[in-house]
Amino acid sequence: MGSIWEYANPVKFSRTAGLVLPWVSIGATVTLVVGLVWGFFFTPDDYRQGSTVKIIYLHVPSALMAINVWFMMLVTSLVWLIRRHHVSALAAKAAAPVGIVMTVIALLTGAIWGQPMWGTWWAWDPRLTSFLILFLFYLGYLALWGAIDDPDTAADLTSVLCIVGSVFAVLSRYAVNFWNQGLHQGATLSLDKEENIADVFSTPLYISIAGFVLLFIALVFLRTRTEIQKRRTKALLARERLG
């Protein structure tokens, strides 16, 4: 069996991604449709939260993804810095927009949920706040990619940004927890009650989460392939110019 690093070759990766992509896409569509339809239409209303509880099927998966996408970018950034495989850097680049969209979905669904639940669109609850900070990190990361012309330089710089940023993101999380403790006790109660969720709610939730994961994988494969193709076009043009 070949080493996993074989797939670090852009051509090989492209080919493999091309083979896997249709299956992942189908899987993502099926799980998403099943999870969301089940969640939205075939679960009973919650006795306290009414039908608004159903937004959980978007909110929780997207929130989970938002964090995990950053984590994946952290790993691929490290791989790029250590082993200098272009695919790795491009995968990080491809994942970032998906991550920021997930963050926005989590924030928006949270806000929509918060309106009936807490009577406000936004509160400076520690968890919400650290999500907003995550959003800022994504924003800076994307802005840096956008501002630099040379792809390898951009890959290096964004990788370092991602790694240092992760440390600071964790720090911020603690800082925010500390900051809002003294003032807003109990505001977090409305979160953190996974244990209370009954099975009727949780099965579609798990399916929905799986759907988001598959969707993310499909998008990252697709976008990484596009990035590879872009680089390839550029390389071909450059070679042509020399000839």
Binding site: P10, H86, P151, R231, R232, A235, R239, G243
Partner: protein, 207 residues
């Protein structure tokens, strides 16, 4: 203190520009790089100076023996000529700047802010910096831009004195410096072709 370059391939913007370069520079010698605009002289000098890594091949030279001077002079507009020179001489651990001031005829300008100098005066100051580095190998990119003929001669004299003191110089230039003892290397023939075989060029992992 000799510099040698083995089978060097250099890239700019991800594209190989020069390949298969081999040359060496012994103490006391000067080598002038020639070649049309855009062939890659600047890129080569930056690679030799260690500012960018080569794509393949290697540059052999004792670390910290190179004094590099590029298109921009690294002058601070709000420091006087003396302060500018003193700063670089401190950084490189030497103290005396009067030889440098004399060699480039800056005595009349010592108290002027560098920002108020004319183009050629700035360049002279930039070149005077080389003398205060005390480094043996000079790597210079178009050093005589904006200089009048008298100053070009002054520069050639400074290079000659440097060579006599056992230093060496690698220069890229388009004009005649009057350095008859220098060897000339035309880098034109080393231009990288489209079927360059060096691995890593053209992002060819992507092809």
């Amino acid at each position: 203190m000799s510099l040698s370059v083995h089978d060097l391939t250099i890239t700019r913007g991800g594209i190989p520009v020069l390949e298969g370069l081999n040359f060496s520079l012994e103490p006391g010698r000067a080598l002038i790089l020639r070649g049309p605009n855009g062939v890659g002289k600047t890129t080569l000098l930056r690679t030799v100076a260690g500012l960018q890594p080569p794509l393949s091949g290697r540059v052999d030279c004792p670390p910290e023996s190179i004094a590099y001077a590029a298109h921009s002079d690294g002058l601070k507009a709000m420091l006087s000529v003396t302060e500018n020179l003193n700063f670089w001489s401190d950084v490189f651990g030497r103290k005396d700047i009067s030889a440098a001031i004399q060699a480039f005829d800056l005595a009349a300008l010592t108290d002027r802010m560098a920002g108020t100098l004319s183009a050629g005066q700035k360049r002279r100051l930039g070149l005077a910096r080389l003398l205060v580095t005390g480094r043996p190998i000079w790597v210079l990119d178009e050093p005589t831009v904006s200089l009048d003929t008298a100053s070009v001669r002054m520069f050639a004299d400074a290079v000659r004195a440097h060579l006599q003191a056992g230093g060496s110089a690698l220069l890229a230039t388009h004009i005649d410096l009057g350095l008859s003892e220098a060897e000339v290397l035309d880098v034109g023939p080393f231009r990288a072709g489209p079927n360059s075989t060096v691995p890593g060029g053209f992002d060819e992992g992507f092809l």
